[in-house]
């Protein structure tokens, strides 16, 4: 059913259609509209057979979801940024225990400095935890990925997080085709857990595992996660059939057939990237893009196929590993190794900085011209950086760096606007 609706509300609808039995959540910008909407549905009796628990922290939220899942209930929560860090112990715990819970991550930057806007640093902070991580390109994608998430989680007995760009998607109002209850019921059967705490068949879950078997337990997690590379395309195909539109998948190539330069990216920036690709193609440039929908497990083989033939691959990412460089870039480079393509890393959109089409077009042109550096921080205000280094060199008590930068930024803006 087509509706013009806020992304958060659309996701809340999708989650409700999946018939969660326990939702345990703690509010954090920019996820609040999602959990509020789900809570309202439970209260109004629209979502039945579900208990909505107002958790006292994110750690409590994920822990509640772990407990519920362990007794066989379909469980869901959502968070962002600092909230994800606060529940990180439990995030690893859920994966280690093999509990198929679903989490919406409204991607938001990690502090310090505190920042409420969108980037992917939160998702990156748990990339090794053993969760399936899916990235939504649009609110339609977010809706469809949530239905897939529950199906995938329960099929694999692995927790799944659906990443959607905070504010950019969560707070955008756009056209979405919302699935009906009948459609979701057809796609998502009742949860049949692999393990369940049953009063009639007692077992212990969560005991210590020593050196003798820890490696094997972790290897099993790895193997189970990798199965998503096979299961996701199959599930995506069956979902696409019922919903009558493309859904999910591992990677999504866009005009890559004869592309010399291919941009690889995740999340909402892909919309802007595709527009830029179309504009450059119209001028005769051979460029394309690949969106990664399934980031974990990493679809190395599929990515390699998608970028095959490209001279240059530009990874445009909204996070980086401090002291190293791009995170996605390194993983793409590792996958692309054999293809001979040069891989460039462009870090953009940190802390909610917009990525305008002009920037993407500029990056593509530089890549075509061979003038793109190996690592670029897009639209970096170098004068602010230089000013801070100068300040630091001038004396020991140079002051808090973030506040210094802000002061310089405001002063610069005042000068520019007169």
């Amino acid at each position: 059913m087509l509706q013009q609706v806020e992304g958060s509300k659309a996701v809340a609808h999708a989650v409700a259609m999946c018939r969660p039995q326990v939702v345990c959540a703690y509010p954090i910008s920019p996820q609040t509209h999602i959990i509020e909407a789900i809570g309202a549905k439970v209260k109004a009796g629209e979502l039945t057979g579900c208990e909505y628990i107002n958790a006292d922290s994110e750690m409590a939220a994920m822990s509640g979801v772990i407990g519920a899942s362990a007794v066989g209930a379909r469980a869901y929560t959502a968070t962002a940024s600092q909230g994800l860090l606060f529940m990180m112990e439990a995030v690893y715990n859920a994966a280690g225990l093999g509990l198929p819970v679903v989490l919406t991550l409204a991607n938001r930057a990690l502090g310090a400095p505190i920042n409420i806007w969108n980037d992917h640093s939160d998702a990156m902070s748990v990339r090794d935890a053993g969760w399936v991580q899916l990235f939504a390109e649009s609110n339609q994608d977010a809706v469809d990925l949530h239905v897939l998430a529950f199906a995938l989680a329960e099929e694999l007995s692995v927790p799944v997080m659906v990443c959607m760009d905070g504010f950019v998607l969560t707070h955008a109002v756009e056209r979405v085709d919302l699935p009906t209850q009948a459609q979701v019921d057809a796609l998502l059967p009742a949860f049949v857990p692999r393990q369940v705490l049953d009063a009639d068949a007692p077992l212990s879950i969560g005991a210590m595992v020593g050196p003798d078997a820890f490696t094997e337990v972790r290897y099993l997690m790895h193997a189970r996660l990798l199965r998503a590379l096979d299961v996701m395309p199959t599930l995506a195909a069956s979902h696409a059939e019922v919903l009558d539109r493309p859904v999910g998948g591992l990677v999504r190539p866009y005009r890559t057939e004869d592309a010399e330069v291919v941009v690889v990216a995740m999340g909402s920036v892909l919309g802007t990237v595709k527009d830029a690709v179309d504009e450059l193609r119209a001028d005769g440039s051979k460029v394309g893009a690949v969106g990664i929908t399934c980031y974990r497990p990493f679809p190395a083989a599929q990515l390699r196929s998608a970028i095959a033939g490209a001279r240059r691959v530009v990874v445009l990412e909204k996070a980086f590993s401090t002291g190293v460089g791009g995170i996605l870039s390194a993983e793409v480079a590792a996958s692309a190794g054999a293809t001979g393509a040069a891989v460039h890393s462009v870090i953009a959109g940190l802390g909610g900085r917009a990525i305008p089409g002009s920037t993407v077009r500029g990056i593509l042109r530089d890549a075509l011209a061979g003038t793109l550096a190996e690592l670029t921080f897009a639209d970096l205000k170098t004068e602010l950086i230089e000013a801070e280094f100068t300040r630091m060199a001038a004396g020991r008590r140079s002051g808090p760096p973030a506040e210094n930068l802000l002061r310089d930024l405001v002063a610069g803006e005042r000068r520019r606007h007169g």
Partner: protein
Amino acid sequence: MEPAAGSAARPALSAPAPGSDLLRASGSSVQIRLHGRGGQGTVTAAELLSVAAFEEGLFAQAFPSFGSERMGAPVEAYCRLSRSPIRTREPVSRPDVLIIQDASLIEQVDLFSGLRDGAYVLVNTTEPLEDLGFPPLAALRRDHVLSVPATELAREYLGRPTPNSVLLGGFAAMTRLVSLGAVHHAIRHRFSGAVADANVAAAAAAFEHVTAEREGRVRAPAG
């Protein structure tokens, strides 16, 4: 906000309007930027605009500037309208339409930044536009720069100085991108009962006001 009721097909609610020229002329999408202050309903206005466009069978995308919006602080919201799916997500830097909910913002914000040639500007003010001291307006077509006393109309019809749905009526009259009927539908999806009625009436009053002003300016371009 409540989602607009939908079905698989989205028939337009009115005949193609002059605004469709704007749709064609601007290529991919019409870009609208709204400027207001926290508490004036700027974000809601953008959302309602997108719902009205949806009612007309258009693709529409609306989102705010995501600031820490306190009451009175400058707020921007954006809306894109198009006949085809909208993919880009960047803020509107080259607006085809500018809606200024609070003229005093000129002191704090570069309201006209990136304004395209041939753009439309709708200003919420009781003063004559010439007296506002907005130099960029002089470069635009006279019948593309219009004003409406939205706050006063809001006070009159709603009892509250919230100009957002009023301005949408003015927007519909100015650009003809959406019909007044679509604006009314959008209002009724968000509000109900007497509040909806009042907002609908206020939007209609603004529509009439701007229509008249536009026709006046069309007839007398030299002013």
